[in-house]
């Protein structure tokens, strides 16, 4: 029988990632890691 630890799927793949880790890994260069600045101001 497979050991309990082997018969599971880990959605986090062994990593304990925070919001900023997730966004950095995706290559997002958001303000302070997770803040979207509005483009409207720049365009105006």
């Amino acid at each position: 029988l497979p050991a309990p630890g082997e018969f599971v799927k880990d959605i986090d793949e062994g990593l304990d990632r925070d919001i900023f880790d997730i966004n950095e890994d995706l290559g997002l260069d958001l303000f302070e890691g997770d803040i979207k600045l509005e483009e409207q101001g720049k365009n105006s």
């Binding site: 029988l1 497979p2 309990p4 630890g5 018969f7 599971v8 799927k9 880990d10 959605i11 986090d12 062994g14 990593l15 304990d16 990632r17 925070d18 919001i19 900023f20 880790d21 997730i22 966004n23 950095e24 995706l26 997002l28 958001l30 303000f31 302070e32 890691g33 997770d34 803040i35 979207k36 600045l37 509005e38 409207q40 365009n43 105006s44």
Partner: protein, 637 residues
């Protein structure tokens, strides 16, 4: 962020876009419930209001800060962002909060180690001075859900943030729930005086016992005590840690006749939502047949004296330790909750005790997994829960991985059950929510740790079989402690549910007991949730509009035989163009108008100055060559 213009109304309109994962949608709705319980912020589906928050799945987890008055304000919950505290964090940004370590007084509490920060990310550690950011008269909060963790933007393995109080080194970056100071700031910012869901909490520490009353018509009273000879030795709120403190209510069954009762009733309560969850702890040191009944006394126009209705009878209460109970209520009129203790036949050396009562207009968990003697398990062995059934009839159990060095893992397994022949397979869209309960006496101060997973019926395993297919088909054979065999499907969860350090903090482990709260609910109704208000019928214009796709919520209509997009507009914003692809706003218009005016003025001023200069030069030259003109024209300019 300073500025009343950045505030949202107390009830925020939202849309859950269809791009979101199903699990994310359920998690977002759970996050909304935390706001409803602990703050005065509520959420409602968008029904055409000028400004609303559109939650969608794009890359990453992000939000704007404050109400930007842009109409559709986006907030992304992408892959791996479907965690309740992540959603709470992003919505706190939307409500107007920056990260905690960007406070003006940041450097008094943490040290930023600049040479450990990823190159180009140093700007993420800027500070907002107190002209743009207000700390609302609340101290720096290491426990804030808005604080970076110590490893934020690190270029190696060393921490980028070091707390000046070393005890908080691994506390920063918690993503469990709102901290007390998070709630204090949010409630101050939005002038909250109450919440939608919270009703009452009582730990019996005050003499007035939270306004609870002893009923007449019973044969005994509950007594407020701090210990009982036959047990419990101390209350559940403080667990005997506070000298001369720690009280609970006790019904003595060591004397008196069988059938004796004592009823304790709450003050009058006024429901807003129509469904409630009552929770409390009981300690049985009496006879095995001593039991508790839970009633509601509802006051209606037809029955102003109140109608007493039995809601739950709790028998066979385990003896020797505090036990947690949940009771679901569905009361719509003003009411009281009543706790009746009953002395059963047989001897008793103590009685029934009750403590830490909480009542809120939330949904109770479906099941509770009570793990005793937890400390000796942590770091040593893995445990499986007893089997449970979901309301749909799916059997399941939970697997807790406790022997990892740093983290606790938690996994959800479907198992073979009595209803499997009647159920749909693969199991579709059942969301399992697993909560490690923070056993603070007051539900508003709990920071329980929660994760959710959802069964996707299309998900396949490495060998091509459906992950959520019938356990007897895709699972392995296992045995219950009594030797009964069953099939267990593959587990689905996380190895990073909570760290050992956080698990030992707060009141997750209390009296060496741990409670995992479990809810498995059908969320297939969330399949399509983007509900754009649409008063224009489209069925009669099917052919013309079938090839036209309007963007940004535009609605296709047929005018003079041609498909046209009617574009959404708000108070100060609008979409335009053939497919509503362009955006305009009064802000843009004003800026363009003002800048054009200023430019024209500046150009004309330059022209005027140059003209004056040239004209003066010209006349000065003429005057110097014709003295007779000087007297007439010297004052001309």
């Amino acid at each position: 962020i300073i500025g009343d213009n950045y505030r949202w109304p107390h009830t925020i309109p939202y849309v859950l876009e269809d791009s979101l994962d199903m699990n994310a949608k359920g998690v977002i709705l759970n996050a909304f419930e935390r706001y409803r319980l602990k703050t005065c912020i509520d959420f409602k589906p968008w029904s055409g209001e000028a400004n609303y928050i559109s939650v969608f799945k794009e890359s990453g987890c992000w939000s704007s800060v404050g109400n930007r008055h842009v109409g559709k304000q986006q907030l992304s919950i992408g892959d791996n962002c479907d965690r309740i505290a992540t959603v709470q964090h992003e919505f706190l940004h939307a409500l107007g909060f920056w990260h905690e370590q960007s406070r003006a007084d940041r450097d008094d509490y943490v040290t930023i180690v600049w040479d450990r920060i990823l190159s180009g990310r140093e700007h993420n550690f800027n500070i907002y001075d107190d002209s743009v950011s207000d700390s609302l008269n609340v101290p720096y909060d290491y426990t804030s859900v808005m604080h970076y963790s110590k490893t934020a933007f690190q270029n190696g393995t060393e921490p980028t943030i070091v707390t000046r109080i070393s005890d908080f080194e691994d506390v920063i970056g918690q993503r469990m729930d709102f901290s007390d100071y998070d709630l204090l700031k949010l409630n101050r910012l939005y002038n909250c005086s109450s919440s939608l869901s919270f009703m009452d909490s009582c730990d019996f520490e005050l003499d007035n016992i939270c306004g609870m009353i002893q009923s007449s018509g019973d044969s005994a009273d509950w007594q407020r005590v701090s210990q009982v000879l036959g047990g419990p030795e101390n209350d559940h709120s403080n667990m005997g840690q506070c000298k001369d403190s720690g009280f609970f209510m006790h019904f003595n069954t060591s004397s008196g006749n069988a059938g004796a009762t004592a009823m304790l009733e709450s003050r009058i309560l006024y429901p807003k939502r129509g469904f409630q969850c009552l929770e409390f702890y009981l300690y049985n040191s009496g006879g095995e047949s001593d039991h508790v009944k839970i009633y509601t006394r509802e006051y209606t126009a037809a029955h102003p004296e109140g109608v007493l209705t039995l809601r739950r009878e709790i028998n066979e209460i385990p003896t020797g330790s505090w036990q947690l109970y949940y009771v679901t209520l569905q009361v719509t009129e003003k009411f009281r909750v009543a706790f009746e203790g009953l002395k059963g036949p047989g001897s008793s050396s103590g009685g029934l005790s009750i403590d830490d009562i909480n009542l809120s207009e939330t949904r109770c968990p479906h099941h509770i997994w009570h793990i005793q003697n937890f400390t000796q398990l942590l770091g040593s062995q893995n445990v499986y829960s007893p089997p449970f059934y979901s309301p749909e009839g799916y059997a399941y159990q939970i697997y807790l991985n406790l022997n990892s060095l740093t983290n606790v893992g938690i996994y959800f397994h479907l198992i073979s059950g009595a209803n499997d022949d009647q159920l749909q397979w693969p199991c579709p869209w059942q969301q399992a929510t697993m909560t490690l309960l923070d056993q603070n006496p007051d539900i508003r101060q709990r920071m329980s740790n929660q994760r959710s997973i959802t069964t996707d019926p299309t998900m396949t395993d490495d060998n091509g079989s459906y992950f959520w297919d019938r356990p007897s088909k895709v699972g392995v054979v296992a045995s219950f402690p009594n030797g009964t065999q069953f099939s267990r499907g593959r587990g689905y969860g996380t190895s990073a549910f909570i760290t050992h350090e956080r698990m030992k903090s707060r009141e997750f482990i209390k009296g060496d007991d741990v409670y995992i709260l479990l809810t498995v609910e059908d969320i297939s109704y969330l399949n399509s949730t983007s509900n754009v208000p649409d008063p224009v019928p489209t069925s009669t214009i099917y052919n013309a509009c079938s090839e036209v796709e309007c963007q940004n919520g535009g609605i296709c209509t047929v005018h003079e035989g041609r498909a046209e997009c009617k574009c959404p507009a708000g108070e100060d914003w609008w979409y335009m163009g053939q497919r509503c692809e362009k955006r305009g706003s009064t802000h843009d218009t004003i800026v363009i108008a003002v800048s054009s005016t200023v430019t024209v003025f500046a150009v004309m001023l330059i022209i005027t100055i140059v003209s004056v200069y040239c004209t003066r030069r010209k006349y000065r030259k003429k005057a110097s060559s014709n003295p007779a003109l000087d007297a007439q024209n010297q004052h001309a300019f």
